[in-house]
Amino acid sequence: MKKLYSIMAVLLAAVLLLSACGPRAVDCSADDVYCVGQVTDLGGIDDKSFNASAWRGVQNALDDDLIASGKYLESQGQSDYARNIQQFLDENTDLIVTVGFLLGVDTAKAATANPNTYFAIVDYSYPDCWPGAVVGTDCGSDVEIPNVRGLTFQTDQAAFLAGYLAAGMTQTGKVGTYGGIQIPPVTIFMDGFQAGVMYYNQQHGANVQLVGWDAATGQGLFTGNFESTDDGRAFAESLMQEGVDIIMPVAGPVGLGSAAVCQETGGCLIIGVDADWYDTAPEYRSVLLTSVLKKIDVAVYDTIQDMVNGQFTGGTAVYTIADGGVDIAPYHDFDNQVPASLKAEIEQLRQQLIDGTLTVNGVLGR
């Protein structure tokens, strides 16, 4: 029996060793040494999505020698958020980047308790409390927190262009979308996509249908997770069965399962999200129409740069299509297939979105 326990112990130690990887520590408590720590959401650091994108921002800062150390801790469950943040606090990390809407409450708690540490949170901003919400349980803070910068993105503007493009490119008259979990940073993509389709229908007197989301009722198609690529496959198959031929999956790596089935059957095209999938998932280039870019890496890099230059400000930094924080990617392999007139229309829409003569909410009628 004893032998057995020692074997178990070795196994467990191996597990712990395997999960604890990252560069060696430097003295982060020194004034001129900047350390950045990123706490991921459940999708993991290489989720092809917002965790990976934020991490790219940290790595770029490392490569440019802005900071001495950049580390990440992956959260395997929601109970890991607070623990991972505390781990970085214990290491005197200067800036803690928390990735994702779901870390909103834990980040606020840690930031309020440690006013001398900078925080940046992706896809979130404070104050986030609604009437009747309990601070610290339902929401993070009812006031702005000076040492936290919320990084938010008007992704609906970029998704609007993608929706317009999809409506112009569909052969079957049906385009589809689905999300991971029904939270605002996900549904904002779907809102924009829907608005784009609607606007195309208005402009062209067309009747392209969107399957998988209705902004008016808040009813849509969701996998309930950001992990299961098999779900992505099943959802794409299901959408194809209903006649959809262009799909925008807003579910991180789950969408790669959809891309796989599109490539296998040749029955659909994919619109990537967050990063340009042409670069991050090159194996699916042949079915990638475009990607809705959300440049989290740029936002994280900007924040790090501001901290190093002593210009860190709290509050909310909103990235829009006007400053290039969100956009759609080039058409790459589909450049020849997108009609020139459609390209021109999209270019014009981009301008209208930038100067504010066209808004997503306006098209959705709210």
Partner: protein
């Protein structure tokens, strides 16, 4: 005299009959009463993307009339129960459950359409990894070794399959590698359970934790760095069985799948035959029920357990291969998403038999794909609630319909030879 015979009559005839009446009324009130007579529901009966197949017209049904018919089925069953008594209560429950689901679908599809064939075929595909995990559980637990590490085996063999598949360029080699690695992890579990007599739950949990850590490590350190060289295997092509796949509705569902789905269906039959009609199966069951008696009669208990757990691991290895080379052609961290545990539930629900486990897996697969269709139809039920559907089915089924499932008597107990 009259009093003494009335009570069993009420209990055995009247009460179930009234319950069936009630079910009929509920079906009508929930799904029929708010619908207009003119509304219709359309169910697609042809597979998408294939035009050369025999095209049959889609099924269009008037919603209200159909729901009325379905509720009458339940009422009729109730009347029959009161008048004559129904022998098989399972059949009655099954029919009413079918009427309920069918009425629900009709109601959800009113003035709309969806592909019924598509839903059925994705039910089977979604059931495949669950069924393979369940079969792994069946074969191990029939020999009294609880294997809770199936989830871990799925993960490890999924990753093995994609790496070997990408490196070798041959998916069949990858499939064999995944099966062998599954067997290897099974062997480790068997060693722990049989030789060292560890608590089998602890060993299984250790396998799960190790699998998550190890595959995530390999994924982030190696696979991410070289996607095309390590993590892009492609998937098995769909095989259409000649002639059989042309059968309307059933053909595309059963006979147009990839090799892993076919292997799964074959395994269900083979395992059933082996377990119940061969000497090996008899020995296995004896070892699971009463190892001491089996030992006395000269059955090698340890060997039986080793072989069964290793075979189980190999079946789970096949299940793991489904996730990568059978579905998406790439590995992502924790991509198995708890299918191994659902497989264990399917095993219990199926009362430790291959066909039962398969049927249970189909039910989970059906709940899974039904949920997707319902979300697409945009019915006014929150998506979070629909996502719970497979798990609600699990609980209802485990608590109510199955009754007390009997595990093999010696399940989970290490055998001490003395």
């Amino acid at each position: 005299m009259a009093m003494t015979s009335a009570r069993p009559f009420i209990k055995s005839r009247l009460l179930p009959g009234l319950l069936l009446f009630l079910a009929g009324a509920v079906i009508y009130l929930l799904f029929g009463s708010g619908v207009d007579w003119s509304q219709q529901a359309t169910f697609g009966l042809n597979p998408t993307g294939r035009t050369e197949a025999l095209v049959i017209p889609d099924l269009t049904l008037p919603v209200k009339a159909s729901v009325v018919v379905l509720s009458l089925v339940a009422v009729f069953l109730g009347a029959w129960q009161m008048a004559r008594g129904i022998r098989s209560s399972g059949l009655a429950v099954g029919l009413v459950a079918f009427a309920f689901v069918a009425a629900f679908l009709l109601w959800a599809t009113k003035d709309n359409s969806f592909s019924l064939v598509g839903m059925l075929s994705s039910s089977l595909v979604r059931a495949t990894p669950i069924a393979l995990a369940a079969l792994c559980g069946v074969i191990s637990e029939r020999a009294a070794v609880v294997n809770i590490g199936i989830e871990g085996i799925l993960l490890i063999s999924a990753q093995t399959a994609v790496i070997v598949g990408t490196k070798s360029g041959n998916l069949y080699v990858a499939l064999i590698a995944a099966i062998l690695v599954g067997g290897l992890v099974g062997a480790f579990h068997a060693l722990m359970a049989v030789k060292f007599k560890v608590d089998q739950i602890v060993s299984g949990v250790a396998i799960n934790i190790f699998a998550v850590g190890a595959t995530s490590f390999v994924s982030s350190r190696f696979l991410e760095k070289d996607i095309n060289g390590l993590n892009n295997s492609g998937t098995f092509p769909t095989i259409s069985v000649p002639l059989l796949s042309k059968i309307p509705v059933l053909g595309p569902v059963l006979f147009e799948n990839n090799i892993i789905v076919f292997l799964m269906m074959i395994l269900v039959v083979v395992l059933h035959v082996v377990l119940f009609y061969t000497p090996w199966g008899l020995r296995t069951r004896a070892v699971g029920e009463h190892p001491k008696a089996a030992d006395t009669l000269g059955v090698n208990v340890f060997l039986t357990r080793y072989v069964n757990v290793i075979l189980g691991g190999m079946i789970a290895g096949l299940g793991g291969a489904y996730f990568t080379i059978g579905a998406v052609g790439r590995f992502d961290e924790v991509m198995t998403a708890g299918k191994g545990f659902i497989g264990l539930a399917a095993m219990i629900f199926g009362k430790w038999t291959p066909f039962g486990a398969f049927a249970a897996s189909l039910l989970f697969g059906f709940a899974d794909s039904l949920q997707v269709k319902l979300q697409i139809l945009g019915i006014p039920i929150p998506s979070e609630f629909l996502l719970m559907a497979p798990y609600i089915v699990t609980m209802v089924v485990l608590a109510g319909v199955v009754g007390s499932a009997m595990a093999p008597a010696a399940d989970g107990v290490p055998y001490e030879k003395n």
